[in-house]
């Protein structure tokens, strides 16, 4: 018994000595790691910080090593690896001495990875308003923006507004916050419009207009101020264009089609949003009963420049306009074109969606530039694929994937980490994230293919209704003893008046000149019965 006690005492003493020796050792190693970090030897620093984090008996040392490990990895451009450790710091909560710095680290990684989904979701989950009040206001603004964006996507509009309105006007994301607030007002306006609540509809759209105008006013409408705004705010030039487009949409929602047309026309030709503006301008002119201009806007949209765009609704709009001006043959021709080019996609899309493919199988549509013929995604029509690739989220997915692939390669190439546990752990982190990304991207593709399928299906039934209406109208024409051919009913309207000498007139003769795109106007035969002019 005594022997056993002695043995235990010796063992305890021994362990104590070992522990003391180890504590000394980790503290020295921590100092060494800090020196490496300060001399920009981040690979060596990361390795040592990792060892200290794993072996130090001192919680304070472990905490410091954990945060600086994340920092070292960030400096090495290994954002996903850095994320793992910033996240560990952050979710440890305010008890962790580097809690707020961890939160700021997460924001930096989100920016570097262009991630506006996963990291914001994590921050939102552990959002601590009391603690975050101690953060740098500019960092907090970014957190508020990301969380606001996340909540907006979840359609939690009032919660999202609370975060977005808390963004500091000096923050680089201030205009983005204003923009999201305005978009929320537009969404609410559309919602009230559906519920036929006119007063609230107008109120929401008015608030949206005020906010969009506020974003445009950040330019000061003069060169020097605009350049300052460009240097201060993230992506402000793009936001100016988007605000213009959305001002047009807000006026359209309010029923002010004249102003809507004005703002749609301000979208620069050949810019990213021009196709959307042309299509919506077509609707705006249709609502103003300016059918010639509406057909003109669609004429550009249907030019070879936009040949690979997914625009099924524009064909339905075109057929509807022809229907309104009693050009039934032309309306039928457009609907036939819709059948040939869009309706025929339905069986293939349906087949893909019902094939029970795992999400990862869909990801190649976004992430691969060239698809093998054996890949089921190779069957997706070009128009549909292009419509998916246009989304800014696709760019983010691709950036994320490329970043992960580069990081996996970089981890394998750091000599200091050969055979270390750090390398194994980081490789594992990146691999897990890559698989997750494939699943997320695949899910995104699948949801969008489903959306395109439903869109075409919806317009197909609309096309059928228009065809039925055409048949009814043609029957009425015959009953009234009128010629079914529009050529024999009414005269062609004269060519449009040239507004002034700053305009050039060109007749369109079946060839598209690039400089004429966006300037087309139709004149049509006045073919409706009773139209004597």
């Amino acid at each position: 018994m005594l022997n056993k006690l002695t043995a235990i005492c010796v063992l305890a003493l021994g362990l104590g000595l070992v522990s003391h020796a180890s504590a000394q050792s980790t503290s020295e190693r921590l100092n060494q790691a800090v020196q490496d970090y300060n001399s920009s030897d981040f690979a060596q620093a990361a390795k040592t910080f990792y060892e200290v984090k794993m072996t130090s008996p001192q919680p304070a040392e472990r905490a410091q090593a954990e945060y600086y490990l994340a920092q070292s990895l960030f400096k090495l451009g290994m954002y996903q690896s850095a994320l793992a450790f910033y996240n560990a710091v952050f979710i440890a909560g305010p008890a962790h001495p580097y809690y707020l710095k961890g939160a700021a680290g997460l924001v930096r990684v989100a920016e570097a990875l262009h991630d506006d989904t996963l990291i914001p979701s994590q921050i939102n989950k552990y959002y601590n308003s009391q603690e975050f009040a101690r953060l740098d206001p500019l960092v907090l603004s970014k957190i508020n923006f990301y969380v606001g964006l996340l909540l907006y996507r979840q359609e939690k509009y009032s919660e999202s507004m609370a975060f977005l309105t808390a963004i500091d006007p000096k923050s680089s994301v201030y205009p983005k916050g204003l923009f999201l607030q305005a978009i929320i007002h537009v969404r609410l306006g559309a919602r009230y419009n559906l519920a036929r609540d006119e007063a609230r509809t107008q109120s929401e759209y008015n608030q949206a207009i005020k906010l969009f105008t506020q974003i445009l006013d950040l330019s000061g409408h003069e060169k020097a101020k605009a350049e300052k705004a460009v240097a201060t705010y993230e992506n402000i030039v793009r936001l100016w264009q988007l605000s213009t487009l959305n001002l047009a949409r807000a006026y359209y929602g309010k029923g002010d089609y004249a102003k809507a047309a004005t703002y749609y026309s301000r979208i620069p030709r050949f810019s990213q949003d021009w196709a959307d503006a042309l299509f919506e301008l077509g609707w705006t002119f249709f609502m103003r009963e300016e059918y010639g201009k509406a057909l003109g806007a669609l004429h550009t949209l249907h030019s070879p420049r936009f040949a690979n765009m997914f625009v099924p609704e524009s064909l339905i709009l075109k057929a509807t306009i022809y229907f309104h001006v009693c050009l039934y043959q032309e309306a039928r021709q457009v609907l036939d074109f819709f059948d040939q080019h869009y309706a025929k996609m339905l069986p293939m899309l349906e087949g893909l969606l019902k094939a029970n493919l795992p999400n990862e199988k869909f990801a190649s549509l976004l992430l691969r530039d060239k698809l093998d013929t054996s890949d089921p995604m190779a069957k997706v029509p070009v128009l549909v694929r292009n419509s998916l690739l246009e989304s800014p989220r696709v760019g983010k997915f691709r950036h994320f994937l490329r970043s992960l692939e580069a990081e996996a390669l970089a981890i394998g190439q750091v000599d200091e980490w050969k055979g270390s546990r750090l390398r194994e752990e980081l490789a594992g982190v990146v691999n897990v994230q890559r698989n997750l990304l494939m699943k997320t991207a695949g899910g995104y593709v699948k949801a969008n293919l489903q959306n395109r399928y439903q869109t075409i299906l919806g317009f197909l039934s609309h096309a059928k209704m228009v065809k039925l209406e055409i048949t009814t109208r043609e029957r009425e024409l015959i009953k009234a003893g009128l010629d079914i051919k529009a050529e024999h009913r009414g005269k062609l309207a004269p060519r449009p008046r040239v507004p002034d000498e700053t305009y050039n007139y060109w007749p369109f003769r079946q060839e598209y000149w690039q400089d004429e795109l966006g300037f087309y106007v139709y004149t049509v035969r006045r073919a409706c019965p009773g139209n004597k002019k």
């Binding site: 445009l216 605009a226 064909l315 040239v498 700053t502 050039n504 369109f508 106007v521």
Partner: protein
């Protein structure tokens, strides 16, 4: 008017977009090369092309003010010889002088030499050559067009007519190779031109101008002395040059947020 299509910029339209007889499509395009209120400074090299006996080479400076997109006023200085420089006087003939280097370029054609070989001589009026001309023209551009060469780009063009008049000095060379200054008088001109815009501020110009003047020269010597002969002369110039445009409206820049 779409003038000459060298290549179609975009491909033919899909079937659904084929025009039906019940519709017409027009492009009402905002001009992207407005010339209104712009000042255009042009330099040309000119060549006479239709004279039987004479051949002119000239430099031309033109300054246009564009009143609007269609009308412009143009000041022109056409010079075949250094202005006001008369060479060396011939002692026995105060109106004659020698020297040729001061002319930028001239020659009498083979027709003149052939006549001389045949002991014949054209009238002095036919030999009168323009030395300098200063004038004002009015330019009218009723026709515009554009060109595309194999999809390399698009250039725009204005076709114009021009008419005007001004002061001209002329000279002719006698058989003894001395020059005779005929003095200065009015000269009218009309012409056609093409201005091809390569940039908003830069264009190439091609002009054809017919200059008409009444050449007053020494006639044949008679009993009562030397007579004065007057003949209406017309000289067609082809002029090729470049022009630079200044002022007018400045294009909208990116910072002007829509």
């Amino acid at each position: 008017m779409k003038s000459i299509t060298m290549a179609v910029l975009l491909l033919a339209a899909p079937v659904v977009l084929a025009q039906s007889p019940n519709e017409r499509v027009h492009a009402l395009q905002k001009r992207d090369y407005s010339v209104k209120n712009k000042i255009e400074v042009s330099g040309f090299f000119g060549l006479s092309v239709d004279d039987i006996f004479t051949q002119h080479y000239s430099g031309v400076l033109a300054i246009d003010y564009h009143l609007d997109e269609a009308f412009a006023l143009e000041f022109t200085w056409l010079s075949c010889k250094l202005p006001f420089y008369m060479g060396s006087k011939v002692a026995d003939n105060p109106s004659a002088y020698t020297g040729s280097w001061f002319r930028k370029g001239h020659s009498y054609t083979d027709a003149y030499d052939n006549l001389k070989d045949a002991q014949l001589s054209p009238s002095n009026a036919d030999l009168a050559m323009i030395s300098n001309y200063w004038g004002l023209n009015v330019e009218f551009s009723p026709i515009y067009g554009k060109f595309s060469f194999f999809n390399w780009g698009l250039v725009r063009a204005d076709f114009y007519v021009t008419v005007g008049g001004g002061l001209v000095t002329t000279e002719y060379m006698r058989p003894d190779n001395t020059w005779v200054d005929t003095g200065s008088y009015f000269m009218g001109n009309f012409g056609l031109g093409l201005r091809v815009f390569l940039k908003r501020w830069f264009a190439i110009r091609l002009d054809m101008r017919d200059f008409t003047f009444a050449a007053k020269v020494e006639g044949e010597a008679g009993p009562s002395g030397t007579t004065t002969e007057t003949k209406i002369r017309s000289t067609l110039f082809v002029m090729l040059g470049v022009s630079f445009l200044f002022g007018g409206e400045t294009p909208v820049e990116i910072w002007s947020p829509y």
